[in-house]
């Protein structure tokens, strides 16, 4: 008798919970609206960016070891490397210390403005291509440019330049 009563109580609770869940689920509002336009990657790049770190990663090291070589660009005295990308697709480089991997300036672009894989810099004598550490939105304050080196298609090093937006 006690057992029957217990079973009955359990069954009632289960039934009640199921009804309650169904009721609440029915009340859930339908998702409306659209995802919106993807952010403008070109607009995100526009501004002046100042170097804050520089690293070298050895792709042939067993643990892909990374070394911080920021000291070659940042000594606390010289103005750090600055790159300015403008809306007219011109870019300029200001460098007082360290090796210049970005040319003297010229025009800039992406391989695909909507879905970019590479940042491309067109100087008077060369076309330079870099990977971006991530897409940059207009409100992002940091940006990473990766200079990936290979030898006869075998990857060797990645130089990563980390910039902060200064205007």
């Amino acid at each position: 008798m006690i057992n029957q009563s217990t079973h009955f109580t359990a069954f009632t609770s289960l039934l009640f919970s199921a009804i309650l869940l169904t009721t609440f689920h029915s009340c859930k509002p339908e998702t409306e609206g659209e995802l919106g336009e993807p952010f403008d990657k070109v607009e995100g790049m526009i501004g002046t960016w100042e170097l804050q770190a520089f690293t070298q990663q050895d792709l042939n090291s067993p643990i892909k070891e990374t070394r911080d070589l920021s000291d070659f660009y940042l000594d606390g005295l010289a103005t750090p490397l600055q790159i300015t990308f403008d809306a007219n697709r011109d870019y300029s480089v200001a460098i007082e210390l360290g090796k210049n991997y970005f040319g003297e300036g010229g025009t800039w672009g992406f391989d695909d403005d909507l879905y970019p894989s590479f940042l491309q810099l067109y100087t008077a004598i060369d076309t330079l291509q870099y990977n971006l550490g991530g897409m940059v939105r207009i409100f992002d304050q940091s940006m990473r440019i990766e200079y990936r080196r290979d030898c006869n298609t075998a990857p060797t090093n990645i130089y990563t330049f980390e910039f902060n937006r200064i205007n």
Partner: protein, 282 residues
């Protein structure tokens, strides 16, 4: 219960290592130091790949086994022939059906560290002849075995970063004075005493000193910075460093170098050069 769990967790790596058919010690491994490859025939299972060595060992436990290996490459001195393994490939019996061989992997295989770590070691054990033994169904060999080699970060006297580089890459050379065994006069170097002599090679017949030996210790860019624990380090872009030294159409192919300490002279004989090589890329 917690204590038991902690003990089991602490022992896990060792238990895992020893449950494998083949493993190496020490692990992580320095590619340029001695390591021991173990083959545990207790873990071997006959018949997987036409292999019958385990059964043969049960019948003849004291028979000599030989290592046959093909990755990261064939041994520099060769495996011998399948029906007649080379004598230097004989394994040492270190326990019941447990065998080993000790070697320096980069020397034994004649490969560099990155190749060793990328490919690991593939091998099998066999009798001198791998052919089927009379009275046994399968060949006198084990199944194929593979060991991934976990790399140890460079821990030698000289470490070069990155492993592969072009002449216009940043190159970092680290010298560990605590590993200086050969030259007593270099041991116990003070923080401001470590320099490097550089000789830029263009080709077989053309080379340039960055500065003559007598000027090395008065050339600031040839000084290595002390980074602690007996280590000294310098970073350079070789092509840029030698730009003022090389001729107009000349390209740096290698750098020969040795460590210099003010007041120390190497014993008579050829300079103790070590070599930094560069990739030739299209």
């Amino acid at each position: 219960m917690k204590k038991l769990l902690s003990v089991l967790l602490a022992l896990a790596p060792f238990l895992l290592v020893h449950a494998q058919k083949a493993y190496v010690l020490p692990s992580p491994t320095d590619a340029n130091s001695e390591m021991t490859l173990f083959i545990d025939m207790n873990q071997s299972e006959d018949g997987i790949q036409g292999n019958g060595l385990s059964g043969i060992l049960d019948a003849f436990p004291d028979t000599t086994l030989y290592l046959w290996t093909w990755d990261p490459g064939s041994p520099a001195a060769g495996n011998g022939d399948w029906d007649n393994s080379a004598d230097h490939q004989a394994l040492t019996k270190v326990g019941p059906k447990l065998y080993s061989m000790t070697f320096v992997p980069t020397e034994y295989y004649g490969v560099d560290g990155p190749t060793l770590f990328a490919r690991g070691i593939s091998c099998l054990a066999k009798l001198k002849s791998g052919a089927a033994l009379e009275g046994f169904a399968f060949e006198a060999k084990s199944e194929d075995m593979h060991v991934d080699i976990v790399p140890e970060l460079c821990n030698g006297r000289i470490c070069i970063f990155p492993e592969l580089r072009e002449r216009d890459d940043y190159l970092t050379l680290t010298y560990n004075n605590e590993k200086e065994l050969q030259y007593e006069g270099l041991q116990g170097m003070g923080e401001n005493e470590c320099y490097i002599y550089l000789l830029g090679k263009v080709d077989l017949f053309t080379d340039y000193e960055y500065v003559p030996l007598s000027e090395v210790t008065s050339t600031p860019e040839l000084k290595l910075s002390f980074i602690g624990e007996g280590k000294f380090r310098t970073t350079m872009i070789p092509e840029d460093l030698f730009a003022s030294v090389l001729g107009e159409d000349e390209t740096l192919s290698e750098i020969y170098f040795y460590i210099v300490r003010d007041g120390f002279t190497y014993p008579p004989g050829p300079p103790p050069y070590q070599v930094i090589s560069f990739l030739d890329c299209e």
